[in-house]
Amino acid sequence: MYYTPGMLKSMKRVEATREFRLTQELPLLDPVQKVDLLENHHPDYIEDVFRELKVGPSKGTLTPKEFASVFEAYSAIDPEEFDLSTVDYDVDVLVVGGGGAGASAALVAHEHGADVLLVTKLRFGDANTIMAQGGIQGADKENDSPAIHYLDVMGGGRYFNDPDLVEALVVDAPGALAWLEKLGVMFDKEPDGTMVSIHGGGTSRQRMHAARDYTGGEIMKTLRDEVQNRKIPYVEFSPAYELLTDGKKVTGAVLHNLETEEYLVVRAKTVILATGGAGRLHVDGFPTTNHYGATADGLVLGYRVGAPLVFMDTIQYHPTGAAYPEQLLGQLVTEKVRGLGGQLVNTDGNRFIYELETRDVEAAAIIRECSERKKGVTTPSGYSAVWLDTPIIEVLRGEGIIRKRLPAMYRQYQRFEIDMAAVPILVYPTQHYQNGGLEIDADTETKIENLYAAGELSGGIHGRNRLMGNSLLDVVVFGRRAGKAAAERAATIKKSGKLSLAHLTEFHEELEGVGVAHDRIAPMLLPDYRRSKATEKKLVVLP
């Protein structure tokens, strides 16, 4: 057993109250209590988390400081000195990002006859998409319809969503699911072929489709395999580092080969950004569920050429990130655990919130319990956390249910000798999803001509709050739309564009104008988790 003596003592209190809690009913918060809780404890409402952008197309809007630091940063490229005369790749459509949106876009652009190149930062498929467990929405059942889905999405996003984008999402959803089914994604099905579908937070119909608890993984593996089968060229470990323009329209990009450190110039008629999320910026110090390369690169690139951002002042924190053991810190403990009856319990063994409130409310309640009320359990690395009582699920639903319904999760804890069917686990909110991003239209074009954006880096589809299952859907729907639109546009462009970094000169001047220090460089590409003791003694001898 992995727990410290302090934890074991607190765990005893959790066990002592379990029987009482079996029948304890907690009410839902009323609207006033909800607002009060959010305004005082949800990071989205904490003024100190944010900063106003001083430069660029969204100047004057608020965004978390960590985002502002990468948006208001210089490029490692000096636009005056940089040589663009050798073009390494000349293509119709450049897709930047090898996640679900990028792969979907590449496939569809290729189907539309375009000469496509996909470039990605890590391995193809090492992305947030492959980590999605829960499911993908789509109104395909008798009792459901795109209109009902529309209302759920709008209500979930607190009516801030762009109606055109939501319409596209819900209308294309059945077609997107059918496309995946035909490509050979192994959805959970009844013996007669009916899709198994359940509820997710904020759904009014059971429309969450899944592939066991590896839904995004199964989709990603299939899409990647298909890109490979169709021999669509892709280059790994070569992130896009800067976009190129002809002064107005986007005409290509500069890549950076992470291993040889060589740069490569791509000329493209159209460019699709699909670089995903930004969890690794660690807003307000939060751990994250996101993959290693989720560092907001596409946002930085798009922002520099003048594409505005929307809803960058709202981040989705998943209420239950693993808080212990340290090795699992920040990783997702799926909502399903609470759906099955798991309870949130403080160090005294008491519940403090009804478990099926929306994600923002749950997260705020846990933060309040640990900070203001000081009822958290302290972990060895100094974090405070609350218990998620999982054994109670087995009491409620029968022995063995956890292994059966949550195999991936069970296996993960078992690796650290924690049997979550027998003992509770420790959780704390974790940075999960970027609700906003680059502003796009229903064809995914940004405000900059020939620059498209699809997937988690785009904004507007989900308003101020995304519902579970709608982002996997979003990456397929808008990835496909991007592929089609970018290929069709490319077909109308006869002559390849001029390649220049003039936008960067301008952007750098703007930065200097507001006094941004020169050592702030972006995009980040990869976070740095080396111990400072090791990096402080860094000595570069092979320049």
């Binding site: 209500g155 192994m186 099905k189 359940i198 009014s204 993959h291 993960q412 988790y529």
Partner: protein, 227 residues
């Protein structure tokens, strides 16, 4: 050495690291910054396959760097890329039977049933069983057994018959889902309805509504009972 520290040997070089770290975090602690060999950091992507041996033990072991906790005296190296053979095919042109699999991956005939792959798999998958199922043409079984595969490559790295198990598995899952599992009839219907424009009017009306009107509908919508 402090009690809570361990000595690990990264590609032969010794570092002292906290005992309870994963291999991945221990390497970062030591000063490594990953370019390769690190993706999801949570057992989903298969980027971090690692081969290691513990001191005084002749056995070679394998695991995922993001999951495996270090041990004192561990010798390790990551295998972030495995040059495994992949067949290229058009899924629309295939038939879901053993001939298809054997034509694309004839090397599975060479399986010695040694079970080395199963012992290697960090996902506890019955790898040999799914290869055997694929050999027999039991595609449904191969698809089912291999479902949790991360394509980490560790099984293939150890296979004496040079079989690339994970690619065979992926082919089986795609064949199963494309041809053997019955199609979702309700999905096909809905796609057709959307094509005919059945929901266009209703959606156009919803799109015109302001926040108050939408909220009224939203707050009074009926919710299907769950399981």
């Amino acid at each position: 050495m402090a009690e809570d520290m361990a000595t690990i040997y990264v590609m032969g070089k010794a570092y002292e690291v906290p005992k309870d770290l994963t291999i991945m975090k221990a390497m970062e602690y030591a000063g490594y910054r990953f370019l390769r060999g690190c993706g999801c950091r949570g057992a989903f992507c298969g980027a971090c396959g690692t081969v290691y041996r513990n001191v005084d033990d002749y056995r070679l072991r394998v695991g995922l760097a993001c999951q495996e906790v270090v041990q004192d005296g561990m010798y390790l190296a990551e295998i972030p890329f495995f040059p495994g053979n992949k067949a290229f095919y058009d899924i629309e042109d295939l038939e879901p039977n053993s001939e298809t699999i054997l034509k694309l991956y004839p090397e599975i005939f060479r399986c010695l049933a040694c079970n080395t792959c199963t012992k290697a798999c960090p996902q506890d998958i019955e790898v040999m069983e799914y290869i055997q199922a694929a050999l027999r043409g039991d595609i449904a079984k191969a698809a089912d057994l291999s479902f949790d595969c991360l394509l980490c490559g560790l099984c293939a790295a150890r296979c004496p018959a040079e079989i690339v198990q994970y690619n065979v598995a992926l082919l089986c899952r795609r064949l199963y889902s494309r041809y053997i599992a019955p199609k979702a009839a309700h999905l096909e219907n809905r796609v057709e309805e959307v094509r005919e424009g059945k929901y266009d009017k209703e959606l156009a009306d919803l799109k015109k509504m302001n926040e108050r009107q939408l909220a009224k509908l939203y707050d009074s919508r009926d919710i299907e009972p769950g399981d």
